[in-house]
């Protein structure tokens, strides 16, 4: 019966078959070409799991160890593949456990569809067992959400969900489906959604704005490009490189824009923001034209807005009209998809090299190298540094690995020092700063791109927030390389306590378990490094492993991340020590 009905769907999406709402949910996922979903079963979603059991040759369900892990895995999946990640959970606590991941996906514009079970519709509002108003709760952190109480509404709701999640500026959506709708039978047919009349995902690029931008760029003496994840989401990497090279403009990235241009590219001048590179922060306040592409002037990037690039004309290439002049006033706004608008402007751009201007970046880089970078990646003092671990991973992976980070000092160090040859190689929680993101996101990334080397790098704090996902790695045989940089502190908070709270280390010291023993309890290969002499060999062993591998590196306890733009200071006041 199963093969027959599937056939009827494949032949024509218009023909109908009489099936249950829960089967319809699974068939909608198949229609959307979903092959892997992440989730956790429970009462109100059981009918769907029953169908997933029947359709397991079509859809691989990954049982995470916590619903938060399911969302982060779906995010990792989406970030490395560009496809929509899918997470599924039951009502009540299952649904509320998704919220952190949803909020993370919202602020980082990650396409994700979450499906939650809900109590039967006649019990809605009665404080039934495991009832929670997940539509109400998730409203401020979703791009769109809805509740479905009739089976017949399921296909249209899910079609709309996938379309909205992926189109325009992507984001998470949530569809809450009551248990009675899952049981109810109806005549199913599926039609993909390609339009919602009130929704204009990609604003039209205005030719005159492109021309105006080109003119300003061509006349600029010290132009500076700052790009963000919009380039990655819009798959405009080639166009950005073409612009940077043709106009000879130094270009720097936000944390989520990392890897869109290879780190080795001579015009890639590094990371922006609080722990970004010295030159791009300093010279933001020296450039005459600031060209922002697919980025949103987050406060961690800009520092004090009143002292941010006041001397510069600002050109903002952006898909989301609400971002224009939200934080930094744009003199010229080029609305639209990054790929389309960069393609449009490229023929209007004059060739240039801006050699002297570029030299300013090089000079400041040299200062940063001598004051900070050298000691971070080639330390001579006793304790191991996070930077030298990242450097060793670079050497062993030749810059080909996807680096998935958690949140904190290790994240900043990894983003500063990791070599990225390929786009979509830096997966991290940027906007929300979600500790615990890394490990489950790495699982999702590895499953979406099994051919790629995926290295999860966490601190000892964040790692323990989702450590249970080691069980998922083991069960799924996901060959994730898990690195924990252990300084026995919540390092970033400790750094702030040292610098701004007179070293009062309130609740930042961690008494840690035996991490190797925990990894081994999950049957993972595991190793711990405490001496510099063992690092190279251990990283090599990890990278050469065909299966998952856990590596703990004990790093210096009170290492700090520099440079640093202190909270509320100007980017020009970036500190090297």
């Amino acid at each position: 019966m199963e093969t027959k009905t599937i056939k009827s769907i494949q032949n024509t999406t218009k023909s109908t078959i009489r099936i249950s709402g829960s089967e319809a949910i699974v068939r909608c996922l198949i229609e959307e070409e979903v092959k892997i979903i992440y989730g956790y079963p429970g009462g109100a979603i059981m009918p769907v799991y029953d169908e997933l059991y029947k359709f397991q040759d079509k859809i691989h369900h990954v049982l995470t160890r916590h619903e938060q892990g399911a969302t982060h895995s779906a995010q990792g999946f989406a970030r490395i593949s560009g496809k929509v990640g899918v997470a599924i959970a039951t009502s009540g606590p299952g649904a509320t456990n998704l919220i952190t991941g949803i909020a993370d996906a919202q602020i980082d514009s990650t396409p994700m569809v979450c499906i939650t079970g809900q109590v039967p519709s006649h019990l809605l509002g009665s404080d039934a067992f495991q009832e929670t108003d997940i539509v109400g709760i998730s409203t401020p952190v979703t791009k769109w959400n809805c509740q479905v109480t009739k089976a017949a509404d399921i296909p249209a709701a899910l079609a709309k969900a996938f379309y909205i999640a992926k189109s325009g500026r992507p984001g998470p959506v949530l569809v809450d489906i009551t248990k009675d709708a899952q049981f109810e039978e109806f005549d199913f047919s599926y039609e993909k959604c390609t339009k919602v009349r009130s929704y204009n995902p990609v604003p039209k690029t205005d030719v005159s704005s492109v021309e105006a931008a080109a003119k300003v760029i061509n006349n600029a003496k010290k132009p500076f490009i700052i790009w963000g994840q919009g380039v990655v989401l819009g798959e405009a990497e080639k166009e950005l490189i073409a612009l940077v090279e043709k106009a000879g403009i130094p270009a720097a990235w936000t944390i989520l824009g990392a890897s869109a241009i290879p780190t080795s590219h001579p015009l890639n001048v590094g990371m922006l923001g609080m722990h970004g590179n010295y030159a791009p922060n300093k010279l933001t306040n020296e450039c005459d034209v600031l060209i922002a592409i697919g980025m949103r002037f987050d406060d961690r990037v800009t520092g004090d807005l009143n002292k941010y690039a006041k001397q510069a004309k600002v050109i903002h290439f952006e898909i989301d009209p609400a971002e224009i002049s939200k934080n930094v006033k744009a003199d010229i706004a080029v609305l639209g998809d990054a790929k389309a608008s960069l393609t449009a402007i490229l023929p209007l751009i004059k060739e240039n090299s801006h050699t002297e201007w570029h030299q300013e970046f090089k000079d400041l880089y040299d200062i940063e190298y001598n004051k900070v970078i050298k000691n971070d990646i080639h330390p001579t003092k006793e304790g191991l540094t996070m930077g030298e671990v990242i450097n060793e991973i670079n050497i062993q992976s030749k810059g080909e690995a996807a680096i998935v980070t958690d949140v904190g000092q290790h994240q900043m160090i990894a983003c500063r020092y990791a070599d990225f040859n390929k786009t979509k190689s830096n997966i991290t929680s940027g906007g929300l700063g979600t500790m615990g993101f890394g490990l489950p996101a790495a699982i999702g990334a590895k499953m979406a791109a099994p051919e790629r080397e995926v290295v999860s790098i966490s601190g000892d704090g964040g790692y323990q927030m989702t450590i249970q996902e080691l069980g998922t790695i083991f069960q799924q045989k996901a060959a994730v390389k898990v690195v924990v940089l252990n300084n026995e502190f919540l390092g970033m908070v400790r750094q702030w306590q040292q610098l701004f709270f007179d070293k009062r280390y309130a609740s930042t010291e961690m008494t840690n378990p035996n991490f190797v023993a925990i990894a081994e309890a999950y049957y993972l290969k595991a190793r711990k490094v405490v001496k510099r002499a063992d690092l190279k060999e251990a990283v090599k062993e990890m990278m050469e492993s065909k299966e998952a591998y856990f590596l703990e590196v004990c790093v210096e306890k009170e290492g700090n991340v520099f440079p640093m733009v202190p909270s509320g200071a100007s980017v020009a006041d970036i500190r090297l020590e």
């Binding site: 539509v135 109400g136 409203t139 401020p140 791009k143 769109w144 959400n145 809805c146 509740q147 909205i164 339009k195 919602v196 009349r197 009130s198 929704y199 204009n200 989301d320 009209p321 609400a322 971002e323 224009i324 002049s325 939200k326």
Partner: protein, 177 residues
Amino acid sequence: MSTEEKQLYAISVYTENNIGLLNRISAIFQRRHINIESLNTSPSEIDGVSKFTIVVNMNEVGIQKIIGQIEKQVEVIKAYYHTLDEIIYQIAGLFKIKSELLFEERQIQNIIKESNARIVTVNKEFFVLEKSGKKEEIVNLYNKLAPFGIMQYTRSGLIAVTKEEMKISTLLKTYNN
């Protein structure tokens, strides 16, 4: 008026008719600590399209950002903002007053006449006055009636039509194509 100065704005939001949308829109104001002075939802001139009329006291830079956030919502078709000079608007006030006052206090009858208020209903115990107009007119009437004792008083949200044309139908057509 400078873009920094606060004043009353009427925001008109044309939306799909959707259960959760009010929550989504009010959250935009709540997150930014913006007090909603009044809020009205109703059908609009277009079949199946709802209209929110929201009054806030803000500066123009702020309101432009808010409009951006509102329009970003998937089920919002279009949002506009206008100063109160740019719209024709009405607010309704209802006053419940003891019936005996209508006969015992001569002045009340004069107040009703002068204010162009309308008596909606009268019975043995109370009568209800309705007054539509600008906020000041209703407040004015309230101030005049208050000394006699008002049993209940309420004022509606502002509803408005604009002097300029709102091209929602044209917009919907372009979206559909």
